[in-house]
């Protein structure tokens, strides 16, 4: 009887500790970035602190939270069996690529759209989200459809994909480029711009500020969001790709998305972007 109890307890303990003990440490070729991360004992991830629901520093608790932050925690769990073997670094639109190139962060999970120009600078993993630019206008605005944007004054954040996309789509429109999404939204509030354009992921988190404003439902673009990695680390990209595949197939992706963003209709995106989405 006692023996059986002991056996049962050992079994329960083994089950409980399974992820920590049972999981084989991922192995990377010696000297590679992946190996460096494993030796270091924690992974350094660049995330946004300024995009609510995705990567946002909660002003009350000081904690950084959101969908992308939770993905970073899952990554730490998959590497080390513990979600806290993780160091978060703040990135903004303009610093994402330089910080990878300088080797300050191992990977960037920060509303980063894969583009052809950026692919010359860094490597991208499979997609973990498929966003799209949308336009926000004042409730009273005469702008009803995307066609009305042609002659609008459009506020976008510097360093993102908004500027180039608007140049291509609406070469006649006047563009105001400000330092952040918050400033661009303020330009709309203060009527300096008639339209504020950003990825829907950014606009989703502004929902509480939305009183008096509406978002035009049609998407302007496809913004394939992938993780960014410095060039020359295929083993690390391969690891991240299998991590993303696992995240989607295990149902974890949906769970984290629902927890953070709420909208449950969105499906995990395909692994690779459709070439026609890439600008």
């Amino acid at each position: 009887m006692r023996l059986r109890m002991t056996m049962l307890m050992i079994a329960a303990l083994a089950l409980f500790c399974g992820p920590a003990f049972g999981q084989p440490k991922p192995s990377f070729p010696p000297g590679s970035l992946g190996d460096k991360i494993v030796q270091r004992g924690f992974v350094i991830v660049g995330v946004r602190y300024d995009i609510p629901l995705y990567g946002f520093q909660n002003p009350k608790s000081g904690q950084v939270e959101g969908f992308e932050v939770d993905i970073a925690k899952e990554l730490a769990r998959s590497l080390f069996g513990a979600p806290d073997k993780l160091e978060l670094r703040q990135v903004v639109s303009r610093t994402r690529i330089p910080m990878l190139q300088e080797g300050v962060v191992d990977v960037v999970i920060a509303n980063l759209t894969q583009t052809k120009a950026r692919m010359q600078e860094i490597d991208f993993t499979d997609l973990y989200n498929l966003a799209g630019m949308q336009a926000m206008v004042a409730d009273s605005s005469p702008i009803k459809t995307l066609a009305d944007l042609k002659t609008a004054t459009i506020a976008v954040a510097k360093g993102g994909t908004g500027e180039q996309a608007m140049h291509e789509l609406y070469p006649e429109a006047k563009l105001i480029q400000l330092d952040s999404h918050g400033d661009s939204f303020q330009a709309l509030v203060s009527r300096r711009a008639t339209v504020f354009v950003a990825d829907d992921t950014t606009l989703q988190g502004m929902q509480e500020k939305l009183k008096g404003f509406r978002v035009i439902p049609e998407r302007l673009t496809f913004e394939p969001h992938a993780m960014g990695v410095a060039k020359g680390h295929p083993e690390w990209v391969a690891y991240l790709n299998s991590f993303i595949t696992e995240l989607k197939s295990s149902g974890k992706w949906k769970e984290l998305y629902r927890k953070n963003v709420g909208e449950s209709t969105r499906e995990p995106p395909p692994g690779k972007p459709d070439p026609k989405w890439l600008r």
Partner: protein
């Protein structure tokens, strides 16, 4: 890289450089006389003027200029007044700079020996006469080197207007960087262009100052 070539990138920066020069010229032309007036008020024999001048200087000098820019750009429209982004830049930087000019002018006036004023007044000159013929020529001459610093400051502070979307040199640099990802070379070029503007201006002030010193001796 969809790099449109170095010469095209340079002309993109030069467009912004033009805006920076215009902004510098306007802010200098406006803030020097405005600041001189406020400086005179601070040294005036009427208490109300002195208090008003002090309030002006302390208020504007101690606010980060970026906040002044945001105030005019984001705040002013809610009062029904909307001036364009370039005008916001001119207004904010002029007000900010004029506070420093005022301090320099006041210090110059204070540096003129009290005895000289008494002497001129005893010759029958009024307050303005004394100011015009005796105090100001000396005060402004003494203020010259410090004015050089102020003008250099104007050029550098213009870079802040990039934050309210004015397409100045800094703004163009930021946009170019986001297209080319060539952070180092872009901002090195931007820095050289700022130098190309500042160095001649500060050398001009230095020449003027040397000439003044020769006259004094």
């Amino acid at each position: 890289m969809s790099s449109p070539g170095i010469s095209q990138n340079l002309s993109f920066l030069l467009e912004g450089f033009k805006v920076t020069i215009q902004l510098t010229a306007l802010c200098t032309a406006l803030s020097l006389p405005l600041g001189a007036l406020v400086g005179l008020a601070r040294a005036a024999p009427i208490k109300l003027l002195r208090v008003a001048g002090t309030a002006y200087v302390e208020f504007l000098r101690n606010i980060p200029p970026l906040i002044l820019l945001f105030f005019f750009f984001f705040g002013l429209p809610s009062t029904g007044v909307t001036i364009d982004d370039f005008e916001c830049g001119v207004l904010a930087l002029t007000l900010y700079t004029s506070a420093f000019v005022a301090e320099i002018v006041r210090a110059g006036i204070a540096a003129v020996e009290r005895g000289q004023v008494d002497a001129v007044r005893s010759l029958g000159f009024g307050y303005f006469g004394a100011l015009r013929y005796v105090v100001l020529p000396q005060a402004l001459a003494m203020a010259l080197p410090a004015m050089g610093n102020v003008i250099v400051g104007i050029v550098k502070n213009t870079a802040l207007v990039a934050s309210i979307g004015v397409t100045d040199l800094m703004h163009q640099g930021e946009v170019l960087e986001s297209h080319t990802f060539a952070t180092f070379s872009t901002f090195t070029t931007v820095a050289l262009l700022y130098l190309a503007l500042i160095v001649p201006m500060s050398s001009a002030v230095a020449v003027l100052d040397r000439r003044r010193m020769r006259k004094v001796r």
